[in-house]
């Protein structure tokens, strides 16, 4: 579907721009064919309407023949040929209209013939102009898309860097365990290595199945549970329908890190992180909530969220949502991604 036709407003706006174009065409034809206003309008109206729709066809033609696809001459040749065909077809429409009107206005046929060259050239030029405009639009779209993708990749790379404090604290826990509980120390080494390896691997991909992201979250929380012990409880409920949705890699990881770092870690008795994933009518809905201490010193917890928000915008525009609710005791982040399994 042509983008202009995707909604009523843009379609009407497009047709409205053809009114002045039709008037110019009419003026030229009436002068060269010596026609009066009524005669001109009767012929030019159907011609303009046909031309308006024909001029949308370059959307498909231009995309199948990108500017860099063939030699300039060949490309030019093809489009000129198309313009001639369009011109001939439109001329035919004019001729048919005129001949049906000869009963009311004898001689209209012959008069129109005098305007033929002007009409043919104008139609061809308008069509070529439409092709040029379409190339401009398509080019702008592609460059915007690649810009967004590049930004997305940049933000993802930023997030793929493992939080160094998490790493140092985990290593400290391992160091503490080596003397008292070597078996668990080894286990934690392996958990940590698994988490690091997986997060490096996933960080290189633009999108991953949701279940892989959840798996990474599980690994991360597994390591943190060694560190925090009973303080950190986790409840994870993921609907089966979400498992295969393609989601941006490492998108929810910072949300989980925040829940631990700014929530559980700063509470004396800790608490439970609750995660829930469902398929809703707008796509995948993921929420994460944790108890927190509103009086705790606020230490830059905005950075992770800002990064997630920017990535969503780069990837989905306005179609994705990120909502944050902070009550007296519970901090909840809800994420809606316009994705399907």
């Amino acid at each position: 579907m042509h983008p202009v036709l995707t909604n009523w407003r843009s379609a009407l706006l497009y047709l409205a721009t053809w009114i002045p174009l039709g008037c110019v065409l009419g003026l030229l034809v009436s002068v060269s064919g010596n026609l009066n206003t009524l005669e001109t309008a009767a012929i030019i109206t159907p011609v303009t309407i046909v031309l308006a729709f024909v001029c949308l066809s370059p959307w498909y033609v231009c995309r199948s023949l990108p500017l860099k696809s063939a030699g300039t001459f060949r490309l030019f040749g093809q489009h000129v040929l198309a313009a001639m065909v369009v011109s001939a077809a439109v001329l035919l429409v004019a001729r048919v209209t005129a001949s049906t009107l000869t009963d009311v206005r004898p001689g209209l046929d012959a008069q129109l013939r005098m305007a033929d060259p002007v009409l043919a050239v104008m139609v061809a030029l308008v069509y070529l102009l439409s092709i040029a405009l379409h190339y401009v639009v398509i080019e702008a779209q592609t460059s915007r898309r690649s810009e967004l993708l590049a930004r997305e990749a940049e933000l993802r790379a930023l997030k793929a860097q493992v939080n160094p404090h998490f790493l140092f604290n985990s290593l400290n826990s391992i160091s503490a365990l080596t003397a008292s509980d070597p078996g668990r120390a080894r286990e934690m080494c392996i958990q940590l290595a698994d988490f690091l390896r997986t997060s490096l691997r996933l960080g290189q991909r633009p999108s991953i199945p949701f279940r892989e992201e959840i798996e990474l979250t599980r690994m991360y929380l597994g390591v943190e549970q060694v560190r925090f012990g009973q303080k950190l409880q986790v409840s994870l409920d993921v609907a089966a329908a979400c498992a295969d949705c393609e989601v941006p890699a490492l998108l929810i990881q910072p949300l989980v890190e925040n829940a631990v770092k700014h929530g559980i870690a700063l509470l004396d008795s800790g608490g439970e992180i609750l995660m829930l994933a469902r398929m809703g009518k707008d796509g995948l809905q993921f929420s994460i909530e944790n108890p927190y201490d509103p009086a705790a010193p606020s230490s830059r917890n905005g950075i992770g969220l800002t990064n997630v928000r920017q990535r969503l915008e780069a990837r989905y525009g306005m179609a994705a949502r990120l909502e944050v609710e902070a009550s007296d005791e519970v901090y909840r982040v809800t994420l809606v991604l316009p994705v399907r399994a």
């Binding site: 604290n169 290593l171 400290n172 503490a176 365990l177 870690a265 004396d268 009086a295 705790a296």
Partner: protein, 246 residues
Amino acid sequence: MKVVIADDEDLARRLVREYLANETGIEIVAECTNGFEAVKAVTEHRPDVIFLDIQMPKLDGFEALELIERDVAVVFVTAFDQYAMRAFDAAAVDYLLKPFSADRFRSALKKVEQRLGEARPASQSDELRTAARAPGEYLDRIVVKEGTRVHIIPVGKLDYAEAQDDYVGLRSEGKTWLKQQTIGSLEAALNPKRFVRLHRGYIVNLDRITRLEPNTKDTWIAVLTDGSRIPVSRGGYTRFNSLTAG
């Protein structure tokens, strides 16, 4: 040597305990899991040294240190290296970065022993307080101690601060809290866009000022939303105007 360990992570405390077990003459008098407990433990047990984590529930390590009035050697134990230089510039005896080796720990203990032999400058916390912040980063809450109870004042709820000898009186929600601190160091810690030094003895929250009334030739009186009247010096008047004009 009497020791307090303050860290919210069980394993982190276990490690310090393990390293200390290799030493002689060490008595662990308390283990704390948050900043409140650390303050309390130092007051009650009068330790020689405290091993202090920075990120902890309730009060962080720096805030706890502000409230510790006793002379105690402080060794920070943390995974964050960004405060290291500042803590050193101030009076922390040592700064251990997690994870650390037994040797590194022992050298920290050595420094503590040396320090215990010397007479120490009295007010370390004032310097440390100012030093612990990055430039452009200001306090978002002030901790005060009343007896054994700790009170937290979010800076948005501070009406004004008044110098009183070695203390500042902090006026908030109809009450005045006393804190041992100079008004100059408090001024340096507060966001200069929100608080203005109206007088040698007063820092006032800009949001609370309703109007200035002329007093003598070169001085004014600031009237606050709660009706308090604060003297304004000539310098204070200039500072106030340059803030409100911008």
